[in-house]
Symmetry: D2
Subunit: 462 residues, 4 copies
């Protein structure tokens, strides 16, 4: 990387999971729109052809009139090849296949345990973590050897344990985890200002929030816009829409299992007086199974839906076909900003701007009462070659109790995965809030699920 005037050029990015059809394309779009950055992206994927296709798609952008920056895309044949020389490492992988995800999300349903997403906590999140952690051990070792000074940006779930594993293996890594769920809550506050106050034209970034918690179970205890305290307004908002829910486009939640009507947001506010800052589908999975996900009827009453893996399979097939069309030029790549902060973060880290936004990093005091080293989500100050968490304070004890339960469970899962300890993994499984069934049954479910993901558990005694 070097500076030419106000521009940073020759930036080298290693993209692990570079065959991805969602995140990779989004990054291409965002990079294409940013005139101050240029360089090379090395795409690495265990599916080499997918990476090669994405390289072709990316390179096709150069020369287009609506593209503001020149980036070269290359498929890398190995992790080492991708990492060597990298200034930045972006990680966005699918740990395993839809087959394991099917087991993660839907097998527990046989036991009366329902999950809306199944990728973070709950039985599904735990299994996903067990197979993801060994992959992240390998990635972290690669970064330590081949790109120890690079900044690493993770997008993979389970976010907390992915970032946690990177630091556990290579403590000096410069890694962060980025997720847009808080942005969604900021956008909800924008909508609230329009709904309650008739304010138009407020942008997400105008909503200042203090963020504290863990990924997908993050909380906002201070929010303002142009000096206006948004907490009392939110109380009013939650009263108004608590029962019926609020959506920008009403009724959408019933059409798409990726949407919600924010009823769980409102219910949690009523109970805890602090704003939960992730989508309802994620939040529901962190609370006891008896609350929001008791059975399909209860789930529907909260105006959310289970995201079936079959839908993901179908979407995946569509994307595959689209990828082919984009690769061979049948379809033109559509430029569209993602709304992610990735490019802003790159600009800040190279020294082009400074930024305060939320991020997942090991706790070094940014949240009081959470063990040091546990990965938490708070704001951080981004500047040239530095990401420094902003002190977020402490959660009130009632919410702290809920968050800490997951923090400790995640520590248990980490240790179980690193030491291949089935007993420890089971202990974490039984302690998950969604697991409200009797221990005997839960144990049976655990063993079946673990067996389904065994291909990704080398060295385990199963």
């Amino acid at each position: 990387m070097r500076f030419e005037g106000e521009k940073a050029t020759d930036i080298r990015i290693a993209y692990i999971g570079g065959g991805s059809k969602g995140w990779a394309w989004g990054l291409m779009s965002d990079l294409a729109a940013e005139p101050k950055l240029s360089g090379t992206v090395k795409l690495y994927d265990i599916d080499y052809q997918a990476a090669a296709n994405n390289a072709a798609i990316g390179n096709r952008l150069n020369g287009r009139e609506d593209v503001s920056a020149r980036w070269t895309y290359e498929a890398a044949g190995s992790l080492q090849a991708a990492l060597t020389g990298a200034d930045f490492v972006i990680i966005s992988i699918l740990p395993g296949t839809f087959a394991e995800m099917e087991s993660d999300v839907h097998l527990p349903e046989e036991y009366g345990i329902y999950q809306t997403v199944g990728d973070t906590v709950g039985p599904g999140g735990l299994m996903r973590a067990l197979r993801t952690i060994p992959m992240y051990v390998e990635i972290a070792e690669g970064i330590e050897r081949f790109a120890p000074d690079a900044w690493v940006i993770n997008f993979t779930n389970p976010m907390t344990l992915c970032v946690r594993t990177l630091y556990e293996v290579f403590p000096k890594i410069k890694a962060i985890g980025c997720c847009h769920e808080v942005f969604g809550t900021q956008n909800l506050l924008v909508d609230m200002l329009k709904d309650l106050k008739g304010l138009e034209g407020i942008a997400r970034r105008d909503i200042q929030v203090n963020v504290l918690g863990i990924n997908h179970f993050t909380w906002i205890d201070q929010a303002s816009c142009r000096g206006m305290d948004l907490i009392p307004l939110y109380r009013e908002f939650a009263e108004k829409y608590g029962e019926i829910g609020f959506e920008r486009e009403p009724g959408r939640w019933a059409e798409s299992p990726f949407r919600s009507a924010n009823r769980i947001h409102f219910d949690l506010f009523k109970r805890y007086h602090v704003i939960a800052a992730a989508g309802d589908r994620h939040l529901a999975e962190f609370m006891p199974g008896t609350w929001y996900l008791k059975d399909p009827e209860t789930i529907r009453s909260w105006k959310i839906g289970i995201t079936p893996v079959s839908l993901r399979v179908q979407k995946g097939e569509n994307l595959l076909r689209r990828s082919e069309r984009l690769t061979n030029g049948e379809e033109e790549f559509p430029l569209k900003k993602t709304g992610e902060d990735t490019v802003s973060i790159l600009k800040a880290l190279v020294g082009l701007e400074s930024l305060v936004t939320n991020v997942n990093m090991p706790n070094a005091g940014q949240i009081g009462g959470i063990p040091a080293g546990a990965v938490v989500e708070t704001n951080a100050s981004f500047r040239a070659d530095s990401v420094r968490p902003v002190q977020a304070g402490e959660l009130s004890p009632d919410i702290h109790a809920l968050v800490l339960r997951h923090v400790m469970n995640q520590e248990t899962v980490l240790r179980a995965a690193l030491t291949r300890d089935k007993r420890l993994a089971l202990a974490a499984f039984l302690n998950d809030p969604l697991v409200t069934i009797a221990p005997g049954e839960a144990e049976a479910l655990f063993h079946r699920m673990l067996n389904h993901t065994r291909a990704y558990l080398p060295g385990w005694e199963l």
Copy 2:
């Protein structure tokens, strides 16, 4: 207090709850057997007559041949009168009456929530805490005013929150909480050595243990006797008796709801590889309601029973009659050592001996990963005018998760009680592991229980 040769005389003890028929009599017995201590015990009780009767019973001991020490007992007319001039304050009260206890223990049964004791955690423990904390606020304020330098020994449950409240109100208090549950586990290890190794004549104090956790949910991760590591032996013991249970006198558990066959001890060891160090009846209440207390049948299968409050009422009536007989001399007071450490602790604190035993105190680092100030149970070194916790290390993350959940809940209950915050109390209630029912039902139960204990909740908006 002063020394005469090797004896400490003129010791002044204030006994709060001095009308008690169990603990007070036990203390009289233990004091009577200790030739090196003498002085005055001021008995204070909201039931003055009960204290006066106990004074009469205590004073009747003087002159008996089998009594080794002279103690004067006085009923005190006020907290101030009891505390003024005290070297030691002993607190052993019943917070409320059997009527509230009936609600605490049995009302949840209507909702499918069963409790074996109901005095520590669970719905019953929480309600008991809410009414006890204001009493301990008053006691702590009294100690700050009238006996700020006295050593305070608490025996009341919920132990953790009683001790926590004392320190919250008067941070410089010299208070400890004593409970014999760990002794019970030491005795179980004595029995184990006899059963597995044929060793006779081992005393409880020969069993060295490292204690860490919170009261009634304490753990032993290191245990030895004469250099022998007891952990592997306990593994063998748990295997041998896991299914059938172990009792010194087999079958007793079925006759008395105060007993158990240690099956939960063994099950927890199998799951966590560390020895739980409280009775099964207490341990069961700290785990999810689906585990050991799911329904009466499950409870019985674990060879424990629910302690019905009616039994306590009946025992209370028997004790009342006996108290009358003892007071008027119809019956002679039977001297019998309790097995508690109280007198050893008194001797250590006045400087007559030194002692290492377990105790409940605010965490100042004796357990890693538990918030500072939370009351924990570990060993401590007792010496003249000092009780200093011994560093116990850190629990493994799976157990830590279980303990921390209760720690945070207790912090929430404390704050709810101090600020009279019903919302916060409900949040703690819903987060208790025994509360596995749907939140709507749980909320209904909460309000009914709270209403039953309202006489002890001055200033609350109910």
Copy 3:
């Protein structure tokens, strides 16, 4: 305070020390230049006439063409009158008179102890602290009673102990301490870029720095400008100018005892490999007396001078005459930006912008290894109604040792002042790095100095 469109109006500022002829005039200038803020400043001073004069000077600005904002200035008759209703409290006082300052700075010279400023540490800083702390106790109590929600900005020295006292007395205070010394070092880096790289037009705020330490003994371990790492450049800079010194206008140090040639900056960098971030005159006082301040000759060799109190007296007299001319309109108040961040901070706190800059606040983890609660200087994120420290990491152990010595000394001074404990104050005095003389002599000096400031030590046994 309220918003009107993009402007915050009706802001109420209490200015304690409002008779000041330096800081108060600077604030008037800066406020006059900011169109987005308006309101009222209540000036409180123990010299009421000085406050009244300043009110007259401030109000005279309204109506001038070169003034962008309307502010009303009022002299307040009491602390209560000033504080009541305040949104902001600004504190900038002179603790005591030039007579005490004369003793602080120059009496130690009789004992071979030289001080360049004498207001922060060293014998003079310690005495100043002892008399300032009781004043800040009173101010903190006033804020707790009359303006508990106001943001408090302190400019008085000794900065650390002023802010520390505010939090000690009123722990929920929202107070920060602001000092421009770091800005001076940023400006030095601007000059360096011009000198070494020929770069023009860089502004102070373009220099991103990580700040960590305590006021006037702060360090920068990461510095960049447009992505350029400034640490290696600074090494080159320190080599180039280590012997001869560097000034924007060479030779100025010899003309003014408020200036330096940065030789101590360079020497400290050579020794510790980290950039010291305060002026040489301050830095010198934190190091052992044998280093930079051994005797007048040594001091001169480092191209700094002692600031004689007589010069301050003379400046004070000039300012007094000028104040009279400004008050009665003989002289027009000259508008001139101070370069302080005060107005930016006000704008951020009301919600008009967001800002990351350095500030003095109690340590809550922003610097590792410094006791919690000790006031430290790091960056913080300023937003609507919030100042949240940015995590600065940890100093290397060699520098940490130097900083921690002062931190502990300051804690000792605080406790000495709060408990009026002469013995403790002497212990801190003897442990100051400038006190390299024999303890007997040092003790004699201590008692003479303490006696000179006795008028400000009510309740002490002297």
Copy 4:
């Protein structure tokens, strides 16, 4: 090791520095007197012949009537041979020769820096640490490989850095550091009770003390004997003997440079109101050079002397001749208890008794405000296979400041030694309280001293 009835037999001890003529002989004496322990001691020394001689001396004890236990002594040819199979590792080495010690202690005198011992802190202690740390790195690596479960007891100085290095290299080591200086202060309190109260027959162990600080700069803030508070008595004692000093046998300090009259003890108490708990010769070296060690006259006025290395050389020669006589049987080995706790500690660790005594271990919270991991001295509870520090509380800020300065300096020295960083070593050197000379001179001294010890600094750039 195994138990036979109440005895532990077949204990295997590795003695590193086993050719020692002081400590090794003391251990032989103490082991010979303890009937409950027996086994093998493998003596390892870089001077193999010395170890072989000691083995002969030790084995000669077997069969003597006044010997209560059978121990076999063997000279080991390598560190590996000594460590393999060890239950205990005892380390007591002389790091370097008298030549380096001569430079450590006496070269600084040329620069006006006087040291009474020169083995812990000060210029001499620092140099000794720099050459000892690499030796301890090697020992720690050996223990990790060959005896990872052994308990390690260190006697070598500089104690703090020896123990610190062991844990730095092998964090799971079970190591403690033992020093008898606190015992000396307990004995002084025994003498005090006789002098002031006429009490006879008090034993050292009857004096209960709370110990907190770092080795040779440890403090006692609570002391009692049979319930009597010794702090007020010590105040009286310090008043009575502050000027003239106190010795069990008056005047001995003038005859032996290993003795003192406790005047520094008394002076420190007067200044800090807490009892310093090491000999005056050690304490003096932790305070500024201007205090007790300014010049030979000042030193003498405090009734201590510098221990000349020539005296050690002469003593060494005497011991060598005596060793020969003992080896070949010309002289009979005199059994004499050392007063050390070593054998009690061995007995506790094998499970034969339990013990609370002072020990040097990494801080895990036993002292508040000292960084985690820094080696501190406090009481600990010794039991079977466990040494657990007792919480000692926190030093008052004035003493804390003094202790922390050395803690940070020692951390700097450790890092300098491990990374072979001359700059860092110099920074620590300049920050030592004894170094009160100008930095230029100090730097010259540093380089000369470092050069003298260069044979022990492999890999350094000198």
